[in-house]
């Protein structure tokens, strides 16, 4: 019987190809537009560290201006002072923890002809790699001893290793960064979290860094960080030492806490530290220290901008318009056919038969709309990629989103077909049999 319904639907579609194309086109456009914006939204808001969503935390301490909160909603600042981060590092409660900053370097290899090249770098603790599940192709990170001694060791990203060593195992080789020799201890495998969640200062959706060095290396070179340095306190800062001791916030700090007990213990440690500092005249604000999961962190920092949310809302309104349109067209088409349905009813078609027949037709329109809509979404994302630099990883349809698109199109079409199908199934056959 289903085959029969398909045949009837097909002949009905062939009878009004323009109307059918209009319906498929309307659904496809609605799907295309809403899937474009939804994909962006979905990728942007996806969890970059899904397997540790309840283990890895952004550490926030509120040592900000007692007169005025950092954020209007009283959230603690997104970064720490150097001194506070160093105090956190002294705790052995977290499974892993790392202070970090972003910093560029000028890199030269041993080749005499080579000109220096700019690389982006991250200065952090050796725990960074284990905490964020960073995969290695060769070698490993470095240990706490290397951290403490500010050893000149470096981990290269896959791309940087490609650039400087042609992709070979470069562990043990030496590269010169800002004219200092660094020994390569590890090379990463391909690693590209969608959001660079651990440091949102310099572009949330940028690539991770090219090179990784121990945190104390740039400190020993008296470097500042690339990114934001915010100061609230009038202080005379006339040396690097004074800068390190200042109330300026400029470093990020993350910790892995595997259990609720561990988390509570560390939060107590943070609060205890704040109370201690309070006695010394710091941390004058109400106690406001925080451990945020990656998702909470990304939400609070509004990584998915209001623009993206608005586009999703507007595009779903557009989809709704397309649906209303389809309802109208389908209703017109079905009602036009009422006399024929009357005949079928007289010949013994039950209401369910009529409903099934039209539902199959609606389904075909939905599937057609979904497939064409996928093409539109693909084009839309292509356009988005050409409009935004660095959106290659964001404006991409994955299998989930494709299935969502098809499912959305079919449910949209079924929704649009619901009323017309119901209407046509309720017609009085007798009314339509008398006149041609």
């Amino acid at each position: 019987m289903l085959k029969y319904y398909f045949r009837l639907a097909w002949s009905s579609i062939r009878r009004n190809p323009l109307l059918t194309m209009l319906m498929i086109g309307a659904i496809a456009l609605g799907i295309g537009v809403s899937m474009t914006t939804l994909t962006l939204y979905y990728v942007m808001s996806s969890n970059p560290l899904p397997f540790k969503s309840e283990q890895v935390y952004a550490v926030q301490l509120d040592a900000w201006d007692p007169e005025e909160p950092y954020y209007d909603d009283d959230s603690p600042p997104p970064q720490l002072t150097y001194g506070d981060a160093a105090a956190m590092m002294r705790s052995d409660i977290p499974t892993y923890q790392a202070t970090m900053i972003s910093r560029g370097f000028s890199v030269k290899t041993d080749q005499p002809e080579a000109r220096p090249q700019r690389v982006s770098g991250r200065a952090t603790y050796g725990d960074f790699f284990a905490m964020f599940d960073v995969p290695f192709a060769y070698g490993t990170g470095w240990d706490r001893a290397a951290d403490d001694a500010a050893e000149r060791v470096v981990v290269l990203s896959k791309d940087a290793n490609e650039k400087f060593f042609g992709g070979t195992n470069s562990v043990g080789e030496v590269i010169y960064m800002d004219e200092q020799p660094f020994r390569v201890v590890g090379v990463l495998a391909s690693w590209r979290p969608v959001t660079r969640f651990y440091d949102l200062n310099t572009g949330a959706f940028n690539d991770p860094e090219d090179v990784y060095v121990p945190f104390l290396v740039p400190i020993s070179l008296e470097y500042g960080a690339f990114g934001n340095t915010n100061c609230w306190k009038p202080e005379n800062i006339e040396s690097y030492e004074q800068f390190l001791q200042s109330e300026c916030i400029w470093v990020q700090h993350w910790a892995q806490l595997d259990s609720a007990a561990q988390k509570a213990e560390f939060l107590a440690f943070m609060d205890g530290y704040a109370a201690e500092q309070n006695a010394l005249g710091r941390f004058a604000r109400p106690r406001n220290n925080r451990l945020s999961t990656v998702t909470e962190w990304l939400d609070a920092r509004e990584v998915v901008s209001a623009d993206n949310t608005l586009l999703v809302v507007l595009s779903f309104m557009f989809l709704l318009i397309c649906l209303l349109n389809t309802v109208g067209l389908m209703l017109a088409k079905f009602i036009n056919r009422a006399p024929l349905v009357g005949v079928r009813r007289a010949l013994g078609a039950s209401r369910l038969d009529v409903i099934s027949q039209h539902a199959v037709e609606v389904l075909i329109v939905g599937i057609g709309g979904g497939l064409v809509g996928l093409c539109f979404a693909y084009l839309g994302l292509l356009a988005v990629r050409s409009w935004y630099e660095g959106y290659e990883y964001l404006a991409k349809l994955d299998v989930t989103m494709m299935l969502v698109a098809i499912a959305l199109a079919i449910s949209a079409a079924l929704l649009a077909g619901l009323y017309p199908t119901w209407r046509i199934s309720r017609i009085q056959p007798a009314v339509h049999l008398k006149t041609q």
Binding site: S11, A346, L347, G348, S350, R351, D353, L433, K434, T435
Partner: protein, 239 residues
């Protein structure tokens, strides 16, 4: 075959009530060929709609083939229409998108018959109406008389016990009308009960029995009751 008792049908449109049938009682036996006549507005079509289970009566009882069908739900009524009743309309009501064979196929599909059985019945029905060679044609490629013969094939393909015909020759010229009439008569002779609504006294005369409706009731006055011998002779001529 068909037994109506005290059947009334009232249509309400806003505040106005129209009594299409008023306590109609009648009976049609198996194998009869009954013509229902009456002026416009006498309730002929309403009678046919209720008899064909297209509408439910407002009150009264209706037994079809000894089954009380006046209280059935929509799905059951659809099933009975499909299995026991064949319709023939004045306007043919063929489905323009479907070819002749597929048109005859429509009621068989709704009976969920297997493909081979459907094919056999389609072939038989089309052969009976003499349109086997036109199987693949669309209704629009056929003359009015041929279209009505397709409609008859469609009505009999389901092997119904009762055929309801509503002015089956109303849109046809006299030659074609006669062919259609002859067809109906042969179907009736094969045992199928036929109830035909018509306002044409010529046709009514050829039926076995006439029921005259007036104001929604059976009227005793039979204006054009033909002498029985005449009718017999006509039928004999046809045979």
């Amino acid at each position: 075959m068909l037994k109506m008792n005290d059947v009334s049908k009232i249509y309400t449109a806003g505040l106005i009530e129209t009594h299409a049938l008023r306590s109609l009682s009648l009976q049609v036996d198996d194998g009869e060929f009954v013509a229902v006549t009456g002026p416009s507005g006498s309730g002929k079509t309403t009678f046919l709609n209720i008899g064909g289970l297209l509408e439910a009566p407002s009150s009264g009882s209706y037994h079809l083939d000894s089954v009380d069908v006046s209280k059935l739900n929509d799905a059951d009524r659809s099933r009975i229409r499909n299995e026991k009743i064949g319709f023939i309309f004045q306007g043919f009501n063929l489905i323009p998108d479907l070819n002749i064979a597929d048109n005859v196929d429509v009621p068989l599909r709704y009976r969920r018959l297997p493909a081979a059985e459907r094919k056999r019945r389609i072939d038989e029905a089309l052969e009976l109406v003499g349109l086997t060679s036109r199987k693949q044609h669309l209704p629009s490629q056929l003359s009015g008389g041929q279209q009505q013969r397709v409609a008859i094939a469609r009505a009999i393909a389901g092997e119904p016990k009762l055929i309801l015909a509503d002015e089956p020759t109303g849109n046809l010229d006299s030659l074609m009308a006669r062919q259609v009439m002859e067809l109906l008569e042969s179907i009736n002779e094969a045992g199928t009960t036929i109830i035909m609504v018509t306002h044409d006294p010529e046709l009514a005369r050829r039926a076995g029995r006439n029921i005259h409706l007036l104001d929604g009731q059976v009227s005793d006055f039979q204006p054009l009751d033909p002498p029985p011998e005449e009718a017999d002779k006509d039928i004999a001529d046809v045979a």
